[in-house]
């Protein structure tokens, strides 16, 4: 596990892997070529050297080290969960082996299941982070960004990182355990550079633009299925925080009535309430403010 934050750039499993950044830059360049009015803001120092952006950069270094040293060691692994699930199924239902599927078919089915269920669980955890008051206290750290940069993705409180890590272990472990029980060693993941192929492709088509000021929309039809960068930017706006919780897929937002299409919103102002923004403007506040706010609300 990388402890050097710069290794994130050369690790395909990271959102800011150089290939994903590069593809985002290419897409952004095309967007700015077609929308000259947006160039000024996106090339301005005010954006990239904004105090909020600077805080993102510093916080990214902190959280990447903190995750390796503190969070990962205490997290239960997906392997342990998968072993437990498989063992549970073996004990409850005895040994079984599903036959009649080719290696490729099982691989595709497993890859799809991992991707869909992982995205589904991401949707719900994200939604809970907004709707459960004590979780929202921690998630405010992410939403307190006044400007969006690709590193805003990593502006999450350690408690939130822990929850997402736990979600990952439980869902990936559960899906893997069930597939191992049914198919044994016949399972594998369709991958590109070692990453789930679907996640890789979606990351390649501009996932880093979700946290940016490049407001690319996918149009009213596609935005019901896939979350566009603009839709996620809407989610970061002060007025529309409780919409577009989806990760890659928008179908969950569509199905559970939290979808907002890009065409519905024109002006975006990022962040949270003005009085709360002050409580998340410095490094130590990102760590401590959620606890302070929770303590204050309980007393």
């Amino acid at each position: 596990m990388a402890i050097n934050p710069l290794e994130y750039l050369i690790d395909p499993h990271r959102r800011i892997y150089w290939v994903f950044l590069f593809s985002s830059v290419v897409i952004a360049a095309i967007f700015l070529w077609l929308n000259p009015k947006k160039r000024r803001l996106n090339f301005s120092k005010k954006l990239w050297l904004h105090p909020s952006a600077l805080l993102d950069y510093g916080y990214f270094i902190f959280i990447s080290v903190f995750k390796v040293l503190v969070i990962f060691p205490v997290l239960i692994g997906a392997e342990e969960v998968a072993l437990w699930v498989n063992d549970f199924l073996l004990t409850q239902y005895g040994f079984t082996r599903i036959e009649g599927f080719s290696y490729t078919q099982v691989m595709v089915f497993f890859t799809l299941s991992l991707f869909i269920l992982s995205d589904f669980s991401r949707y719900w955890l994200h939604r809970f982070l907004h709707t459960v008051p004590w979780l929202w206290a921690f998630h405010k750290v992410h939403h307190s960004a006044k400007v969006l940069t690709p590193l805003t993705f990593y502006r999450v409180h350690p408690v939130e990182s822990l929850l997402f890590g736990l979600r990952y272990s439980l869902i990936i472990g559960l899906v893997s355990g069930v597939f191992i029980y049914g198919f044994g060693a016949m399972i594998d993941v369709v991958d590109i550079l070692g990453v789930n192929a679907l996640a890789f492709v979606f990351s390649l088509v501009g996932s880093n633009l979700r946290h940016s000021h490049i407001g690319i929309s996918f149009g009213v039809i596609i935005e019901r299925f896939l979350i566009s960068p603009k839709q996620h930017q809407i989610h970061h706006s002060k007025q529309h925080t409780n919409v577009n919780f989806g990760g890659f897929l928008a179908i969950w937002d569509w199905a559970f009535n939290s979808l907002m299409l890009s065409k519905s919103v024109n002006r975006l102002k990022f962040g949270i309430k003005q009085d709360e923004m002050k409580k998340f403007s410095r490094f130590h506040q990102l760590i401590l403010s959620p606890f302070y706010l929770l303590f204050k609300s309980n007393s």
Partner: protein, 321 residues
Amino acid sequence: MKRIIVLATLLFTFCVDAVDKAFFEQVIVHNVERSIVSAKQISTSIKQGKSKKSQALFTQLVRNWKKVETTYMLGDLNEDFLDTPRYIDIFHGNNEDIKAQLDLIIGTNDDLSYALYKHSHKTINALEYLLFTQDLSNARVNAMALIMAKSIEHYLQEIKSAYQTHQAKFVQDEQFASAILLNTLVNSAYALKEWRIGDVAGLSKKYKGHADARRAEYAISQNSTVAILSILQAHKQVIDASSHKDFGDVARKFGAIKEINKTIDLLNQAIAQVEKMQEQDLPNPKGKLLYQSTNQLMQSYYLSLMSKLGFVSKVLDADGD
């Protein structure tokens, strides 16, 4: 934990590395050929009406057939052969009482080619019943036993021929080959632990606390521990053999001698336990020890399977948005 992951990774590496032509010929095909020889020998002995010799050859057939069954992968290479082992052996795959049916057939004068119409009537389990409970000098019993031995030989020949036909498919795709090979080991380890030992020792979920020696695979001929030993030896052929490239070789190549020996020890430990066991030991503490060893063996196979998936490396950042 780190050691286990290293071991599991190496075990998988071995699987990918080892499933080559030599492995296929020296283990898979060779085991079938030896079983065919056993089946032929037993046919000859039955023809000659030699009861004791046939019983001894039956033990040999069990020993060789269990190796074929343990590493049986033909169903994965060609679906048409998924059920072939069921035509030879119905242990834990058939609830019917073939003993009563065979007694009925012995007692009538019906043409045997019609009377023995069921596959289960021509299996190794049926043959065991005849050789160890009936009089082989009885012409009808003798004829029945011969039909059974010939049927077993026929299906073994089919298996051999099909393996040779599908050898290219197995050797060409290492990823697929290692997957089906690992699956056979997992399947076999589970069946060994749960059915062949757990059910007898009263340790399986189904028979918890109710040991019964009659549930042993070859309770009639007292060849159950022979079968268990042969199954474990087949595992050894796959993960710790001297005649072809194996897990130990790959481990030594990576310098992880101590760690690898620890895993192989688990298998050797189980083999040593069985070698000291008598048939009647299965339901007692020795059986319990063997149950635990084989359970650990199964877990180690599952761990190797997990390492193949590389959980940590197949996803993007697990953070939210």
